[in-house]
Point group: C2
Chain length 288, copies 2
């Protein structure tokens, strides 16, 4: 199953056999004062720099989320999406919980962006899926519904299937549905990781869909978070996770994702792994 | 399936639901000049220090291998096994390709050591499996036979099954057979990692056996080996690998194994992960 995401002059394929796709998560104001200010002031230089930094660090797609109190997403999201898409040579992931903002951004975004996201809540399915159909773009489905985020694997898989079925009924191709299996802080509930990995494996095997996960949350409240996050990314690669919403400027994360690809036969002759290493050494030497 | 390994006053359980077991690999002269000299000179202080360091770093079992040119294993292995077993409070993994040396060590080793290893070669099956039966100890089976190490998963799984069948016919309990799925350098053959992980998953699921792997080899010849090794340990945890032959004095390795356990629900309340972190911080502070 190949999901194709495109920029104006770029094309990324998400699939089980392709290298893992990194969706740069840094353009999201949650918990980020400086970025929130930049968004409010329309300081596009700062925002574009964040986009470029992530692409240089290894991001294949740039997520753009402008959701913060006091920001009119419907107004700002299309503007930021356009600026970022013009500045970098990779596809965009349009990220909002506001369907009107999603559509406004879809109207101006070049290529074939990724839509982030719908849940299985009726109000979401009824508004977001038709957008994916209308603009012919792939869309991320989160495995939660009116009842919240289920604690068990069976219900999460059933929700993924519900999103898939509804999408197909609307005429969306199955390869344009990606499932976010959702990750909760492991410190609060030791079982939650297993549920996430089991859900990923089952959605990947039983529904044959691509999986995308935003994972930084998993280590919340624990020490040495980077160790847990990198272990998560490596583990997930063995469970059908095909794309991560992550911060590629954290070298350990990008390098672990590349190492996992190498170990799983997705990096012939270790080409990606070694060229990342060389770039890293070159920039170390340049700094010294 | 629970494999029980015992020291004189210690007990380690290897199973899919228990925390991953670390078998300290440092007492093995291959490529180690200083240790080779210590073994030849019977410098037991040095060897015992290596054992204690590993236990302090997180090893649950200590592997003892004395195989080097100019060393009479049948003579030296039992002596070293006895000294190490007396010095540390964890079980021993008796490691030799010489069945006579294995038996000499079994005669003096307290508790219920782990026997490392047999292959599926007839000459091995006929000599090592009877030792496991006679001394009632668990034994590691390597998935190679007279033809060498198979390149494909099917043959590796078939070899694991052959070892299991032969052992059961001799009256050995299935839980006393552990399979080493073998890891080759990924730089030389990009497909080899996938074969190792697939074999682990199938042996774990289809034969319900515990898996033990020595993994340092996988990154041979590549830069930033630690990144590949830690990714391997995290990935493997998702594929049924229940014990690793590894160097626990490399903090990143031990911490990644603990993080993977935590993510897979094998570390309630993150107890092991957090206490390792505290010990690490305490020794940092002591050093400062």
């Amino acid at each position: 199953m190949e999901t194709v995401v495109e920029g104006e002059n770029s094309r990324i394929v998400i699939s089980k056999t392709a290298p893992t796709v990194i969706i740069g998560e840094r353009i999201n104001p949650t918990g980020k004062k400086r970025l929130t200010a930049a968004l409010k002031e329309r300081d596009f230089d700062y925002i574009i720099k964040e986009a470029i930094r992530q692409v240089e660090a290894g991001a294949h797609i740039i997520d753009v989320n402008v959701g913060a109190s006091g920001i009119d997403e419907e107004d700002l999201l299309p503007e930021v999406v356009k600026k970022v898409a013009d500045a970098v040579d990779v596809p965009i992931c349009i990220d909002s919980s506001n369907p009107a903002a999603l559509e406004a951004a879809l109207k101006v975004c070049p290529g074939r962006p990724l839509l982030n996201s719908t849940t299985a809540e009726e109000k979401n399915l009824e508004t977001v899926l038709p957008l994916a159909r209308k603009y012919n773009v792939p869309v991320i489905g989160l495995v939660n519904d009116e009842r919240g985020i289920p604690k068990d694997t069976d219900t999460r898989v059933a929700i993924a299937k519900k999103i898939l079925d509804r999408a197909v009924k609307l005429g969306i191709a199955p390869e344009d549905i990606l499932i976010d299996v959702l990750v909760l802080p492991i410190g609060a509930d030791t079982e939650t990781g297993k549920v996430t990995f089991d859900t990923a494996r089952r959605v990947s095997e039983e529904l044959d869909l691509n999986i995308v996960v935003g994972a930084s949350n998993v280590s919340h409240g624990l020490p040495d978070r980077k160790v847990i996050n990198t272990a998560f990314f490596a583990l997930g690669a063995a469970c059908g996770m095909t794309a991560y919403i992550a911060d590629p400027t954290v070298i350990e994360i990008t390098q672990t994702i590349l190492a996992a690809d190498l170990l799983l036969g997705k990096d012939e002759w270790a080409g990606n792994y070694i060229s990342f290493y060389r770039k890293k050494e070159a920039s170390k030497n340049a700094a010294a």
